[in-house]
Amino acid sequence: MNIIIFGGFLGAGKTSLILSLASFLIQKNLKEVHQNDQQEVQSPYLQSPYLVIIENEIGETGIDHKILRSGGYEVRELFAGCVCCTLAADLTVMLNEIADTLKPQWVIIECTGLAYPGNIADTLNRYGKHSDPIRIVTVVDAERWEELAEVAPILVEKQVQEADVVLINKIDLADDEVISLVEDRIHSINASAKKIRLSGSGMIPGSVWREITGANGSSEEVTEK
């Protein structure tokens, strides 16, 4: 089970990007199923989903369940009950249940915008049943970076610090100069993370998602956990 956690401030574009990654993964899976077994009409993903997305309910962009069901995704929603709690425990319970029952190849988790994806990964690693490393992708809103770094510096910087990959999103809304500044700043906070500029409202090249998923190992040789 490959796990990717998407973090990043409220409205940064997490859901939009998750949807793009999801359709990339589904298409890749379809191709692989066809290549491996031309005869088999019933794809295996119809029984158990290839990909599960865990969403927090609060969010500007909802995920359209109709599109998803047809494509081998399944979406789970997580409920907080409180404005401040960060849900890591419920997430672990849900993830363990998914690992036992659905056994998907991929799980994508969207954090609330005020959560630290690294803390959530810590809880999952401590109590989770999965054994693969968790990848953390932090989405940064290029247009709002300057504002948020001034208003909530600890939050946005820590979200960046914990990331394996930082997606600098909404580059359609910011000047190149601003984007470069944001990128420099992000580099100074987390030099080792891969940084990728993109726009969640446009087309995202497959190379971005190959980079993020390929590094996880099992996307080519599909191994069951």
Binding site: E57, C82, V83, C85, A89, T92, G113, L114, T123, E147
Partner: protein, 368 residues
């Protein structure tokens, strides 16, 4: 066997001494619970949320089964009335959600920047009720009617021998706006029009303090619960935190203390950067309530000679840990914190916490 009245007296004494950082026979344990009680007693969450009265009955049932706890934070579930606290919609089981799903705050931009002007010009009490009714579709009168049961709910707990930690609850005023505007938009407002936001907050604060003072005088609680729900240091730069969070915590706490009541400050999230500010409170007059995100040892080091500390048992541990882990964690806290510490959940005990873990937590405090 002790009567309920004797138990209540014993627990109240232990609690009162702890607030004052005085020596006690043992560390008091106060549970912050709601949805857990429904799961524990096999009541559907939809039924649990149907009224203040019903949630309170279920909670009392659950607590009686749990045994020797000193008290509970609240005598009923506040989830269904979240709109009154956060100025945002809430999805409730049995209404918007399946019967057994926990309530969920549904935050969106429901308040507009123009509303700041309305609040400034007409006052909060001329804005808020109609906002709740018309914009959020919240049954404000109905909620007030239900809340009229609160004193009886508290009485029922007392009659059963349990104290109710904070019969009176308030929120720092910035939370009204960050909930109503949505946290994301509110932060943009702080960046783009801080003066306007501040002007609105001043109006709300003034009315809020006056109302709270009247309530304190009417109810005469031992503790008032102040929630700066998302006021943690990590969500604000130092300058903004001081101006938009601390100022209102301080003013509210000062008034509560002035009325002779202890102020509980519910500090969810990480407050480490700003712990020194809390030295402003006189000894034994405030409680620092933490949820595991702020290092409790740092709180103890900086504020331990001044403030009572409450909480810290992490939600995750109660759901995912084993009873032994919970017992060891709580025992260590009790030993390390000494007097002036109330064993409690860091924020609400999750509905899916394991019953054995709750029992282990109680055992750590009672030594039974």
């Amino acid at each position: 066997m002790k009567t309920n009245q004797e138990l209540l007296q014993e627990r109240t004494e232990r609690f009162t001494k702890t607030l004052a950082l005085e020596k006690t026979d043992r560390t008091p344990i106060i549970l912050m619970i709601d949805g857990f009680c429904a799961v524990h007693t096999g009541v559907k969450l939809s039924e649990f949320c149907s009224s203040v009265k019903r949630s309170s009955e279920v909670m009392l049932d659950s607590v009686k089964q749990l045994g020797d706890v000193d008290g509970v934070t609240s005598a009923f579930a506040v989830g269904p009335i979240f709109p009154m606290i956060f100025m945002a919609k809430v999805k409730v089981p049995g209404r918007e959600l399946p019967d057994n799903m926990l309530w969920q705050l549904d935050e969106a931009e429901m308040m507009t920047p123009e509303d700041y002007d309305t609040i400034i010009n007409k006052g909060w009490s001329n804005f808020m009720p109609s906002y709740l009714k018309n914009r959020l579709g919240f049954d404000f009168e109905g909620a007030l009617e239900q809340l009229a049961y609160a004193p009886q709910a508290i009485q029922n707990f007392n009659d059963a021998g349990y104290l109710v930690y904070s019969p009176l609850v308030t929120i720092t005023v910035n939370e009204y706006l960050s909930g109503g505007r949505s946290m994301s938009k509110f932060m943009r407002d702080l960046f783009k029009m801080p003066d306007k936001v501040e002007a609105a907050l001043e109006v709300i604060q003034k009315e809020n303090l006056e109302q709270l003072r009247q309530q304190i005088r009417a109810i005469k609680p031992q503790v008032v619960f102040v929630s700066p729900a998302r006021g943690a240091s990590e969500f604000y730069s130092p300058k903004l935190w001081e101006r938009f969070v601390w100022k209102y915590i301080k003013e509210t706490a000062d008034m509560i203390i002035e009325e002779g009541v202890v102020c509980d400050i519910h500090c969810d999230g990480n407050w480490e950067r700003d712990l020194d500010y809390f030295k402003a409170f006189p000894k034994g007059k405030a409680v620092f309530e933490c949820d595991g995100a702020t290092d409790i040892y740092k709180i103890k080091e900086k504020l331990g000679d001044r403030l009572c500390i409450k909480g810290d048992v992490p939600a995750g541990l109660m759901v995912l840990g084993t009873p032994d882990e919970v017992y060891d964690f709580c025992t260590k806290r009790i030993q390390d914190m000494g007097y002036g510490y109330i064993l409690s959940n860091g924020c609400t005990l999750p509905a899916n916490a394991k019953l054995e873990n709750v029992k282990a937590m109680i055992a750590a405090a009672t030594g039974k």
